[in-house]
């Protein structure tokens, strides 16, 4: 039952995988067909010594922690709120889910539209209220905050959705018993609800984490790594190396490091998931 799927999967994943491993040990050029010039460990040496790559990783980590962190927290809060509604939860959920259906490219452009110094609604509001006078996407610091918030805007509903599903399986009787014992909301939350949805939380975390490292469409279309390289996460630098400088061997090396990092993160989270399973 598995074979056709696995065969297709193998073809379209193994071929690129082995290609980029081979490319990372070569100097690759595109002119007149793909040409390889063996360069040994040159690209690999560069990957680990290039200060630009290092700073991109740092920025990526900040971006990763901020977006995934905020999405998990706000998503869970959103789910808890909707779950506790007695009426209208259908409509409210549908409204809250809309952002995740919009392509990241369009979300980025919408973000630019709202933050444009000349005619953006948010820019105007911030200016009028005196909260922020400058140029949001053009100033170091605020640009990073802006792209993080755009990502959060788009993907929080995904987390909320998953958590909401998990909340449906929280044991009612335990909750009722706790309530009759006089437990307050905070206590119920901490000792009953969160533990029973901990698996779900980890699933949501895993799904988002996998993508948070590689997705770059929003930053690409809003700041493209600027200003002053302050939002230049590693996938954007990879795109530059691959498709603006056409240094494909080096790009392959950078790509492999990203893959390794993702696998490490996913392994860590999965181990966590297994441990939670056995303990609950």
């Amino acid at each position: 039952m598995m074979s056709p799927a696995l065969f297709l999967l193998a073809l379209i994943t193994l071929v690129p995988f082995f290609s980029i491993i081979w490319m990372s040990f070569n100097d690759v050029s595109l002119m007149g067909g793909l040409a390889f010039e063996f360069s040994g460990l040159d690209n690999w040496q560069r990957v680990f010594t290039d200060p630009d790559i290092r700073s991109s990783w740092l920025i990526s980590l900040v971006y990763f922690l901020a977006t995934v962190g905020l999405e998990m927290v706000i998503g869970t809060v959103m789910a808890l709120l909707v779950y506790s509604l007695t009426r209208g939860s259908n409509i409210i959920i549908s409204l809250l889910l809309i952002p995740m259906f919009i392509a990241p490219v369009i979300v980025g452009l919408l973000g630019r539209f709202m933050l444009d110094p000349s005619h953006g609604l948010y820019a105007w509001l911030l200016n009028e209220s005196g909260l922020f006078d400058g140029n949001i996407l053009g100033s170091v610091g605020s640009a990073m905050v802006a792209v993080i918030l755009m990502d959060v805007w788009e993907w929080t509903p995904l987390v909320a959705l998953i958590v909401l599903a998990g909340l449906a399986s929280v044991p009612e009787d335990t909750l009722e018993a706790a309530e009759m014992d006089g437990a307050k909301y905070g206590q119920k939350l901490l000792y009953i609800i969160l533990p029973s949805i901990s698996n779900i939380l980890l699933v949501a975390l895993l799904i988002r984490a996998m993508d948070a490292i590689r997705f770059f469409a929003i930053i690409f279309i809003t700041t493209n790594g600027g200003p002053a390289d302050s939002t230049k996460i590693i996938p954007i630098r990879l795109y530059d190396i691959a498709f603006r400088f056409f240094d494909l061997g080096y790009a392959a090396a950078v790509g492999i490091t990203m893959l390794v990092f993702s696998i490490m993160v996913a392994t860590a989270f999965t181990k966590l998931l297994k441990r939670q399973e056995t303990s609950s």
Binding site: L30, M31, G32, G33, L34, D116, P117, S118, H119, D133, G134, N135, I136, L137, G138, S139, V140, A143, T223, N224, G225, G226, P227, A228, D229, S230, D240, F243, R244, F245, F246, D247
Partner: protein, 477 residues
């Protein structure tokens, strides 16, 4: 021998005949009578060719007028337009696969021509071949600096593209405000603020500062710039750099005009370059704060909204600016001069033929190339409602109706800049960035480091030093 006669007629009388027919009759008739017999045009009838282009005004105008080309030649053209970055990616991948998905290529001199010139056909084979359609007015009609900058690489013989569009940076300003406050400015500043060919960058700065001090109620700031961490920042800075006598590499004008494989060591730490960097930092401090998030479209949009009084900007924005509420209030001039000269950065491109295409398609592509860059098509582009750029041919500028259109009221708003442009394209006024294969990487270094300088993270000296180090590594100096 019939070919011989055709060529004579063309070069001699045909040209004039076609021009006089401009005002009357359908385009097809004019083309057919002016350029050559139908036979020559129908050589590749029935073929279909693919044209990949940046989504730029001349292509929009041509796309709207393809029917006339089809009628004339029987060739079907499919145009794919996209952002320049995406185009470069697709073209490079196409060359990498060794096949030809696109027959006619919008060959950006820095991102396509320099690295991939071997993938383009040397057009001399078509120009010197008697069997092929002749370029109307000859290639000498193209403005010389543009022909070399767009079409040649490394040597002055091979020609890879025909100049297609030519956006160039000039000084665009609110003429109404300059007129209104002229006397007051003259008194406060001590010089005549009206842009002229003796205005310096230092004076530009003082004018900008004057506006930013709130002296005019209409605008809050004096100058706006396209200083986003993007190619636009490099373009904006280059005007200042060249004006101060600095350059990216030694022998800058040659490296910019013809291009080279080995530009040598980066020159950004020379004293003139440092001067330029210091000045640029100073200038951006009094500029509209939005500048660091604007590319060329952002700054044009803000100018249109009346947020500042002047800007260095690509002249092709004249078209859209003149159809906004600022119509008639805008002035155009070459950019101010620095200690060395006045430099106006050129950003044009040519179109070329994919060398991997079949001989049949190449022939069809050549016909398209000739048509798309012909005087008639360029005139049509000027008049077009949907787009159109500015002509790259001297003969078009000499046409009476074009000359008439360079003063308002006009139906060719881009021509209001005509006088400025013709000055800007002179060899001592034109600004040319290095045409090298590694330009993308070098460009990225330049605008990234400059962006850090503008964000206050590095001093101008540190910025230029850091840029030089990285650039030297990239070009292998």
């Amino acid at each position: 021998m019939t070919q011989f006669k055709r060529r004579d007629i063309l070069k001699g009388m045909g040209g004039l005949a076609s021009l006089s027919l401009m005002g009357a009759g359908p385009l097809r008739t004019a083309l057919a009578q002016g350029m050559a017999s139908d036979e020559a045009w129908k050589q590749a009838s029935g073929t279909t060719i693919q044209f990949i282009s940046e989504n730029t005004p001349p292509t929009t105008a041509i796309a709207a007028n393809l029917a006339s080309f089809q009628e004339l030649t029987g060739i079907t053209v499919n145009i794919t337009e996209m952002q320049l970055g995406a185009l470069v990616q697709k073209v490079a991948l196409d060359f990498g696969a060794g096949r030809s998905a696109f027959d006619v290529i919008y060959a950006d001199p820095y991102q396509v021509l320099a690295p991939y010139h071997r993938g383009l056909v040397d057009l001399n084979t078509f120009i010197n071949d008697d069997q092929q359609l002749v370029v109307p007015q000859g290639i000498e009609d193209f403005i010389p600096s543009q022909l070399a900058a767009a079409g040649r690489f490394k040597d002055s013989e091979s020609l890879y593209t025909l100049p297609y569009d030519c956006p160039t940076m000039i000084w665009i300003y609110r003429r109404d405000l300059f007129e209104k406050y002229h006397d007051q400015m003259q008194q406060d500043l001590g010089f005549d603020p009206t842009p002229s060919d003796s205005t310096t960058w230092e004076q530009y700065y003082q004018i900008a500062e004057w506006f930013s001090q709130g002296n005019a109620s209409e605008v809050q700031y004096g100058t706006g710039h396209q200083a986003q961490q993007y190619d636009s920042l490099m373009c904006d800075f280059s005007n200042v750099l060249f004006a101060y006598g600095g350059d990216y590499f030694a022998n800058g004008q040659q490296v910019g005009l013809l291009g080279t494989d080995s530009p040598g060591a980066c020159q950004l730490t020379s004293e003139p370059a440092l001067e330029a960097a210091r000045f640029y930092q100073k200038l951006l401090k009094v500029a509209h704060p939005g500048s660091t998030s604007w590319d060329w479209t952002g700054v044009a949009n803000a100018f249109q909204n009346g947020e500042f009084a002047m800007m260095p900007e690509w002249h092709e924005f004249a078209g859209s600016l003149e159809s906004s509420q600022l119509q008639g209030k805008i002035g155009y001039a070459p950019l101010p001069k620095g200690p060395a000269r006045s430099a106006n950065l050129w950003g044009g491109t040519g179109i070329g033929i994919n060398a991997n295409a079949s001989a049949e398609k190449q022939k069809a592509a050549w016909l398209f190339l000739v048509w798309a860059t012909s005087p008639q098509t360029q005139l049509m582009g000027l008049r077009s409602e949907v787009g159109g750029g500015t002509p790259t041919r001297q003969s078009v500028y000499d046409m009476p109706e074009v000359k008439a259109a360079s003063t308002p009221p006009t139906d060719m708003p881009n021509m209001l800049t005509a006088d400025t442009m013709l000055t800007a394209w002179q060899d001592d006024h034109i600004g040319l960035r290095p045409k090298i294969a590694q330009w993308n990487e070098v460009d990225t270094v330049i605008f990234t480091e400059l962006s850090k300088m503008l964000a206050g993270q590095m001093s101008p000296e540190e910025t230029m030093q850091s840029a030089k180090q990285r650039i030297d590594r990239i070009v292998g100096a």
